[in-house]
Symmetry: D3
Subunit: 318 residues, 6 copies
């Protein structure tokens, strides 16, 4: 039985441009809400871009993504899945960052993720820059390392730079491996491309057995073949899905800070998520959406369309 | 004693760019909320532009105004009034329009306003086009006509056109006078300018005793003098304040559908509201904010800054 | 013999950025013009978006499309057809809408289309929202239902909503079938995708034998195969071509009110029209171009490029 | 008696966003039109920016100004003058430039202006860059030098540069004086400001007796006083009015290639034209509107509002 | 004698849109350049916005300001001062920030400022957010506290927040007073406005004798009177000038992160700097220019126009 | 041994958004610089669009491309080539145009190219419009005609128009063949599409043996097959590579003056250059980037990404 409380406001009752914007028009259920205990999948924002080495902006991502997400309807066009009926989903609000201190923010976000974990809520986060993934993993993977399916144009496996003491959005997955939050043998990174400073990331991947699929390989083999390998690598144990919007070609998703040309189109961008069907997704995020460099809001609209795809995969894993 | 429930989220706790956007970060209190009975001033949206004869867009006004309104802080810079401590304010959400039928929408909005009236909540609405003012007046002025202080570049006193059966945003105040919702002797319209089709509006004003202050007169006499007259005209009985953002010069507020050059600057735009101190404001609205023609969001930011000024006037009238 | 009167102004004589903008620089021939009787194909605008349930704007489509259309030259790059020499084409101006009343506008547009029909002019219309297709069909298909080749991300086969009395841009083809203006057995809808509220449209299609080709099927089979089926379905009898710009991927055509990700690219967007060669196109439209959400004007430029493709197909059917 | 042929399309009949855009919705009357002989004031475009030394774009000015001009209505808000009833006005289309050759374009524009002169049509031109003023003067002032009232942030009295053989938009008034087209004793330039290379322009002005009013002087004395002097200087003999949109502050008119901060606001921008009442305006232009650097179209909307003011002054001089 | 090496590239030689962009087309003279010892006034960037509590972006300010600054010419329009002939000015490049660590960046910028101090170069910096002022003061005022003339809509005298350990752009002047870098008795802050959280800043000002001039006072008294007071307060001893672009009204300078309505227009924005003539300006900065929220680049163009005014004041103090 | 002087500034030392923007952060080495004699490949701008027949803007291309180019890193993602270590590259600044005279500018640019030739520096130019290619060829191909690999949507093989005396951006390759600068038998033009005035270009190509590959042929055969033919045609003798950004689909590269729909995506846009590996590239250019019509800067970012690909091909030919 679907729970009426957890159903999104219908566009038939209130037009999609109207009303206070929550993720996919779901009810707002903060931690002190009486129904928090019933939430199975929590959508929330991580409005922080203090780990950004180039163009800032993703701190504004969650709000714009909420705005655009009111155009999402109830049913998946291909699978006909109706995720809001299949699982109790809610908008949990945003985790509060400290905009001027990276480490304090990481601690705040980690605490937020731990609280989700303790409530049995699977997270589906909207970034924020890619460093925001690290506290999510710290919060939910502390007991046992997770697998990772990672869509991105960058590996984010670099060592810290700019003096080296503080992490940036180029380092989260290296840190997560180092901290034992991810099992490198169950990690796959897809779509990698763009000019590079050096090979520090590839060396790290090779040393730990992390699988990197460049964009050239992805296009040469085709998405179904690559994603079959991805399903093999992550297997049936709990896996985290991290989707950096710069995986997608900048012509499709200009609203991001470090775009790299030559990525997938929108159909392919959704296809890779659909091909994750069957994975046991313990949590996920969609990061690096930067409204200030996206004059039409299209990037946020794509991002929430992808979050809907991710949600449909997560629901089937419950 | 200030009620903690009705205090806006502080930027010290959650940065201003973070969180679900409600008007001025106030709590969301829809009609079915347990605290609805305690609300004194209700902020809400009227997302409708079906009465627009030229460029549409104000249906998107309330959401963008909510977004920008999170930059409003607690205290007025001149009077030091802290309105959220002085009165219990809340975001009531949006009244639901029918985007394809003007009359159905007017009925829906009227019912919404009646409900406010019956709850003893004073409305402060965010439009929507200027036709949205009419159902507000139908809802709260049915028993006794109100005075009107009206900032605009247009009188909106024209008869219906395009075939004549349906009202547009050029007609609300003529209709309101015809329906006995406004007392024409207690009406003042300030800032009028721009080319015209004919003199139908001025003839109507003259016939009913409505005071029109053109922009030339306003600049020649100065705002304090004009506003002293305005206070005389509306007196101490209940008065409605309607602020069309196109009162302000298009260089300041480009985000509107029918801009007319030669209006006040931002300081003057706020000054006229401050000069309403002492009026008995029974309700108000800020209309015609059109996000699609405002690339920076500045118009919405001005609009919510003006709503804060209006709120401060309303609070002192409680 | 080509008629000099009906030739577009050449960019050699007047640069393409100069001059009053008519569609494709064709002469302006309103109904009271002495040459109206010689026009074979009439290009005109339907500047109305009162049937729009989400983001408005297409009322501005015709003017921006005229502006961009001055970049169209005389000859098709592949077929070498010179359509303005092959048929007498003209810009008929815009049909006059009532911007605040849907039904009045439908009547006005129907009368406009009937007048074309009576003059023997085949219509090629620039919307306006998709509801504008209905009066075109009412005007030219009243005697005998037409076939339909329809490119779109939505079926527009839904029942009326928002209270149910007035049609929106989600209903035109359902209404047209119900009114006997289209022969459902000769209808094909291509490119359908995006999340849905429910299956009301698919149920209607199934009940009436309307062929729906989802975007997944289109990409899997390839455009030539799908379009061969389309030619079979519509056959050689008169057919209407309706092209909603949201058929195209939003990365290519962001300027529309209800975009859905995962559509064709620009090459494919033109290819589907080229593959209509041989159809007996009695009329067509290109709708849902919304300038306010298209910062570069690119969507209008694509739209008029597609209208040129449509025109080349129409010309060969004369 | 007003001539119905020369009346603009009313917004009551065709909404202002609809229809083919001509200047102020006037009829299009090219030189080969049967009514050309009746035109008293001709509005037309000079789409050329080949004399631009900094940022190009004004070649696109006329088309965007036509688009925005459909928001102009019939009656002046202060004087109640109805110019389209007081004089027979028409849109003459654009003079054809050669976009890659300055001198050829100047010859073409001069021929266009001569033709107007020979037809007894007073020109009101939309630029184009400021060099376009020179061929207007060559066309209409060849027999007798005109006075000049000139609103601008630059004097445009510099000698040619970049090698020195070809004129730019920094030279038209020096050339016009040198060619005997303007009477320097009857010239006034108002609003001059901005950093400078050298004093070549001021030296030329001093040598010829041209009156320069800097923006500091204008604000210190007030517009009425300055304009009284302007009326004295130009007297009652035929005078040309040239309005460079960069006279206005860039916050009001960002859409221009060489903006200088510290100019008048929109009210003042219109006021200076209104204060020209009584001058014998033989022709005028509004130049340097550059759509590519004006994201909202506001500059063009101001420009056509100013052209309406200019037209009202011209009409009273007939 | 003017030194040819230190003269900007003339627009007569290389058009202003051409060439590598340095500040005002000055030569690039980094610390390792042989002419560094001859520089009197150094223009440079502080590309950091890690202290920003609301909307980021000023890290991009210096580059955009360089780009727009190529429109600055050689001579002041009112005083006729030619600053690049009066003093040896150069572009020193940018001080290198650590974009993810506030304190490390403050140390780097302080070292940069110390190096200037030791070289005898007076700094004129382009921010960056307002926190960047603090390391400038640490670098040049360590020996003796400076006076301050400060144009802003905010006092930036608040205590640290978001947990309290790290400074933000709301704290620099409080920190500078606490650290003895500024003499509070010789400080004046002009233009203060906007809603507030609390009175912590005013309390601090009162306790230390810092003069705050609200925007209401500034407009009531007039700029000449206020600036006469400013000259009295700072006296003839060395003074720092800090100009936050949000001093200016957001209609004029939308490109900033925390705009407040009701500020001065562009003429007044320049006027306040001109009225500083005679002050002994030991250094200055122009901060908070945020390109991502400024679609036209106009804010940067105003900012560099103001830097030119500041430079003219600084030059006369040498 | 790599020369430290010629290494780009690392993003590790100075973040990519910081510092004065040179091409790819290379050192600025004008002709009077002591290291000019060591430069092997010179990057520079040709800021001129006076040959543009439609929408101007490419004069601003070099500066914006420099700005975006600071996001280029050291190493090619596929070949792992590090071009700045493999060859001594530098930014030479811009060649100075005369913005108001086409022929004078062509002479200036030709002299610039000759100087490069005489210094033994291979040019990699950033346009400017496509007419800028002609003086490059005049400068470096005067002694012996070059082969040409040309990516574009237009052949640019038309005769002069607009009166016929001056060249435009539609004529450079016809002129180059006529002047003996290109060997038509070693010319290939790839990606041709869009409506046409007439067949003058194809007739010229046929008469001279120039190979034209339409976009339809390119997509039908596939890029590897087409590029194999290209390598055959140009052979191993010196060849010029000219890349018009309008080769790429306008959805990817909107920032150009004459876009034509249906071109390659970003991956393919880079792929065609990579497939030029092995060609003996004597020089190249990337032209027609028009910042005023590119609101995100994405087109310039793609353009410099393509210049990096071109550079990697050029380096291997040294």
């Amino acid at each position: 039985m679907t729970d009426p409380f957890f159903q999104p406001t219908s566009g038939m009752d209130l037009p999609r441009f109207a009303g206070i914007a929550t993720f996919m028009r779901l009810p707002y259920v903060p931690f002190d809400h009486p129904r928090i205990g019933d939430v199975q999948i929590g959508l929330f924002g991580l409005p922080f871009d203090g780990g950004t080495s180039n163009r800032p902006g993703p701190r504004h991502g969650p709000r714009q993504m909420r705005d655009l997400s009111t155009m999402i309807r109830a049913e998946h066009p291909v699978t006909r899945l109706r995720p809001f009926e299949a699982a109790r989903c809610a908008d949990l609000g945003d985790a509060a960052p400290n905009p001027v201190e990276v480490n304090d923010t990481l601690d705040r976000f980690t605490a937020f993720a731990r609280r989700l974990k303790s409530q049995g809520i699977r997270p589906l986060a909207a970034g924020g820059d890619h460093l925001c993934t690290l506290p999510m993993l710290r919060g939910i993977a502390a007991e046992a390392p997770l697998g990772l399916v990672h869509f991105d144009s960058h590996t984010d496996l670099f060592p810290a730079y700019f003096g080296g003491k503080t992490l940036t959005h180029g380092n989260p997955f290296r840190a997560a491996v180092d901290e034992g939050l991810l099992d490198p043998k169950r990690m796959i990174q897809i779509g990698i491309r763009g000019t590079q400073y050096d090979s520090a990331d590839r060396d790290f991947a090779k040393a730990h057995g992390i699988r990197i699929v460049t964009i050239e390989e992805m296009f040469a083999r085709g998405i179904p073949d690559v994603m079959a390998e991805a399903r093999d690598i992550v297997g049936t144990r709990p896996t985290y899905m991290s989707y950096d919007i710069d995986f997608v070609d900048p012509s499709v998703a200009p609203g991001t800070g470090t775009p790299e040309w030559g990525g997938p189109n929108a159909f392919q961008a959704m296809q890779v998520v659909r091909e994750c069907a069957g994975m046991n997704i313990a949590g996920g995020d969609l990061v690096e959406v930067s409204p200030p460099v996206d004059p039409t809001g299209g990037t946020a609209w794509l991002a929430v369309s992808l979050m809907f795809e991710m949600l449909c995969v997560m629901v089937t894993a419950l």
